[in-house]
């Protein structure tokens, strides 16, 4: 076997695509062809490195979205189909930012994975629900009073339409056994949930920390005497601009 022939067989050999006879021929040729030996080693090494990359499973939100679509398609009559689809598309065409305004006494330290999961779960209730908000309004004069008597504190409510995050309304959620106010915002094709609760009057502001978790963008920071946690399927960059817009609104208010 000449070198061009054995060179052409390296990949098929590594990939187990040669017949037993072809493999035996190739292995014989290899003993007298150091160049092809090197090619073979390289191909094997690259395969090893790529197979060693961690697999990223489908995020829960994606699974939930698809489940929702399948349930919708399986359950609907031909008449209902169009409106169902339109409604889904309308929903997909909006990003809802849900801001949870949370419990008194929560602290920044000691908040671990279970809180992250609780926040994601809270976001999924917003993202997946038929009615993502309990009080639907972009007017903070309507949303803010709604919380009176439902929470032990009065959450600051800001509409961020001018910066691309219109307020859709608010809802209550229970996270970690504590009653939390959640404000829901909309951005393009996505929803965003933000939880917040009083941090104490003397607590200093912190810079928003934006991270990715299971395909969600999450932000965590303290500003204007409140702890803020935002969850969404927007990009981290958009999440960052949301935190900036919210901080600015809070500062203007003071």
């Amino acid at each position: 076997m000449d070198c061009p022939t054995c060179e052409a067989m390296v990949d098929a050999y590594v990939d187990g695509e040669l017949t037993a006879t072809e493999s035996a021929d190739f292995e014989r040729a290899l003993t007298v062809c150091p160049e092809c030996r090197k090619r073979l080693d390289t191909a094997r090494q690259i395969g090893g490195l790529l197979r060693d990359l961690p697999a990223e499973p489908a995020p829960d939100l994606l699974r939930a979205r698809i489940e929702r679509e399948l349930r919708g398609i399986a359950g609907r009559t031909p008449v209902a189909r169009r409106s169902e689809r339109m409604r889904w598309m309308a929903m997909a065409a909006s990003l809802i930012v849900a801001v949870g305004i949370g419990w008194a006494g929560g602290t920044l330290t000691g908040r671990g994975t279970s809180d992250t999961d609780a926040l994601v779960a809270s976001y999924l209730r917003v993202a997946m629900a038929e009615h993502p908000v309990d009080i639907a309004s972009s007017d903070h004069h309507t949303v803010k009073p709604w919380y009176a008597g439902r929470l032990s504190y009065s959450p600051p409510v800001h509409d961020l339409t001018s910066t691309g995050f219109p307020l859709l309304g608010g809802r209550l959620d229970v996270i970690d056994g504590r009653k939390v106010a959640v404000l829901v915002y909309r951005r393009n094709q996505h929803k965003l949930a933000l939880s917040l609760w009083p941090a104490g009057p003397a607590a200093p502001n912190t810079e928003p920390v934006v991270k990715e978790h299971d395909g969600f963008s999450m932000a965590e920071w303290r500003h204007g005497g409140f702890e803020w946690r935002a969850v969404s399927d927007v990009s981290p960059a958009e999440m960052q601009s949301f935190t900036t817009a919210l901080n600015r609104a809070v500062d203007t208010d003071h």
């Binding site: 052409a8 390296v10 990949d11 098929a12 990939d15 187990g16 695509e17 090197k38 090619r39 080693d41 390289t42 191909a43 090494q45 690259i46 395969g47 490195l49 790529l50 197979r51 060693d52 990359l53 961690p54 697999a55 990223e56 499973p57 489908a58 995020p59 939100l61 994606l62 699974r63 979205r65 698809i66 679509e69 399948l70 398609i73 399986a74 359950g75 031909p78 189909r81 094709q189 991270k211 990715e212 395909g215 399927d233 927007v234 990009s235």
Partner: protein, 185 residues
């Protein structure tokens, strides 16, 4: 593939069969979408659109291997999306992402090496990236790769050879030769 308008409306029985046969491969579909788009948010949109398209075409599924059938739809959906939007995700976004997944027992060095391998793969041209992912990560044989990419087997083989050569060059640029020990080509 048939045009969408010719596809019969899936009934609840079809949806149930689809759920049983195709949903187990959602991780594979998302993983492939993740490497095609190189962005977790875009990948979710792509995987979702592909799953719905797969359901619409499910009447044409003839009991062949489900995973490559689904991956082919993911790939075709991606080609359509790119034609619609015109551009790829800029690469900087990918490069700046944190390392994937938890690897508690791995040293920082191994974590860094994985990041470099992922970055090298992400930097490859799309035709090389997709064929390497199908072969090395999705572990498909040539015949199924040929079906997913709609290519003759001979082209699969030569493109894989080129892709590996390019990947080796990318890796040499990112990792020191001494550290990864890749031989010269």
């Amino acid at each position: 593939m048939a045009r969408m308008s010719e596809a019969p409306t899936p009934d609840s029985g079809t949806v149930e069969r689809f759920r049983a046969l195709m949903l187990p491969h959602l991780d594979a579909a998302y993983g492939f979408a993740r490497w095609l788009t190189r962005d977790p948010v875009t990948a979710q949109d792509l995987a979702q659109e592909a799953m719905l398209r797969a359901l619409r075409y499910f009447h044409a599924f003839r009991g062949e291997e489900a995973r490559p059938w689904l991956l082919r739809i993911v790939r075709n959906t991606w080609v359509d999306q790119r034609a619609r939007t015109g551009t790829d995700q800029p690469l900087e976004v990918v490069e700046n992402q944190p390392a994937d997944g938890p690897d508690p027992e791995q040293s920082a060095l191994a974590g860094d090496r994985r990041r470099q391998v992922a970055a090298a793969l992400a930097a490859l041209p799309a035709d090389m990236r997709e064929i390497l992912v199908l072969r090395e990560i999705q572990d498909l044989p040539y015949k199924q790769i040929a079906a997913v990419l709609d290519l003759p087997i001979g082209t699969v083989m030569s493109r894989l050879a080129r892709a590996r050569e390019r990947m080796a060059a990318e890796l040499r640029g990112r990792l020191g030769r001494r550290e990864h020990g890749l031989p010269d080509l």
